[in-house]
Amino acid sequence: MEWRSKDAINSMLFFALLVVVVFSFSFDPNAEESRQIAGGLVWVAFLFAAVVALNQTWARELRNQVLDAYRVSPAPANSLFMAKVLGNFIFVAVLEGLMTPLFIMFYQLRALGPAWQLIPVGALGTWALVVNGTFFAAMSLRTRSREIMLPLLLFPISIPALLAMVSGTTAILTGELSARFWIILLASYDVVFTIACLLLFESVLQAE
């Protein structure tokens, strides 16, 4: 679906690239400092890029009343929701896959801790952003100025997940602390909010 319009992915990639470049100018880090701040930088870049993508999720369905068709269709609302989440997840994951080498290149990153742990942190973190983001995007669909509404709803709720992603990434990069607690926290965040989304999505979709 998303591949049909190249606008979204191109603008997101360009945006994330800009974040990388601008931050490297404003901080001018050496290798040791960049390990400390890269965790935060990476996730801020991904977060903003993800919001751009998430805003598109439901907006395109509004155009031809597709959403109304979903409402009357016998297909369960939750499978629609999960499909959307999976689509967004793949989309954001591809973006992250493309951006990560750039980050490594520009900031001369080399993980001092166990690097494989970055994969669960990345996957769980992306899921946390995408599952809540898709839900809140459906929610802000019916509000005025919905592009700005999504981050307003998503950021406060995501604070623990963001904290876990950033701290987990930093812990792995610096190798000083164990990231295990953060991975567990992210996993429980994902479980709690995936269940909450599935329970509540039906009523949000039906809300006209």
């Binding site: 809540n132 929610m139 802000s140 019916r142 509000t143 005025r144 100025s145 509404m149 307003l152 709803l153 950021f155 406060p156 709720i157 604070i159 623990p160 997940a161 904290l163 876990a164 701290s167 607690f181 926290l185 429980s188 965040y189 709690v192 909010f193 909450a196 509540l200 009523s203 949000v204 039906q206 809300a207 006209e208």
Partner: protein, 229 residues
């Protein structure tokens, strides 16, 4: 009912005056902090009241999603609004106290950060209610309220691990509070609860009347004969 409101208002205001006297004059001066500590009688009761109101908001939201009862929705709205007000009081009085006592306005400590995040979440809840254009705002808001409440324990745990260096416990770690201070604290809390009830009641009546007017106007627009315009 209508007559009860002003009577209650006067009673609670008088009680607030009395508790202010207790807090500012009667309560013993704290040994190390001096008079600055007296802000504690406003800070802590506001925090307890705010958390209680957010709890009410959570329960009312669940009830609304199950029963679709408009009264539950109004209670949720009102408790969130008044809760944000009290939470703001907490966030303002906290730094005022922290500056002379800790030497800093703000520290990213567990309680401070959790309260700030809570405040942000409920502010976004009120924003959603304000910006939502559909007639189904209550459903969306209730869903968000449940998300917010689920988030609170996660916020707390994540920050607890994130910032392990905890500055001196705010209430002296529990048992070491002077009983006279505790007494003043508790009556202040009672007064704050009364004030919160008063606010909620006034706001509830306002919201109720606003909805009644909206309904009447909608009805009148329907009943108006077509040719008259």
């Amino acid at each position: 009912m209508k007559r009860a409101f002003p009577i209650l208002a006067v009673l609670i205001l008088a009680f607030l005056g009395y508790t202010a006297y207790e807090a500012l004059v009667v309560a013993p001066t704290e040994q190390t902090m001096g008079n600055v500590q007296r802000i504690f009688y406003y800070h802590v009761p506001s925090a307890w009241t705010a958390f209680l109101l957010f709890l009410i908001n959570f329960v009312a939201s669940i009830v609304y999603l199950i029963r679709r009862n408009p009264a539950a929705d109004m209670i949720a709205l009102v408790s969130a609004e008044v809760g944000v007000v009290f939470c703001t009081v907490v966030l303002v009085t906290g730094p005022l106290w922290a500056r002379p006592v800790w030497g800093i306005w703000w520290t990213w400590d567990v309680r401070l950060t959790s309260t700030l995040v809570l405040w942000l979440i409920y502010l976004s809840y009120l924003m959603l209610r304000r910006f939502s254009t559909s007639g189904q705002t209550p459903v969306l808001a209730a869903a968000l309220a449940i998300f917010g409440a689920l988030d609170v324990p996660l916020v707390y745990f994540s920050i607890r691990i994130f910032r392990t260096q905890h500055p001196q416990p705010v209430i002296g770690g529990g048992g070491s509070i002077d009983p006279r201070m505790l007494h003043v604290l508790l009556i202040n809390w009672a007064a704050f609860l009364g004030l919160a009830t008063l606010f909620c009641w006034a706001r509830y009546r306002l919201e109720y009347m606003r909805r009644e007017i909206e309904e009447t106007q909608a009805l009148e627009a329907l009943l108006e004969p077509r040719g008259s315009r």
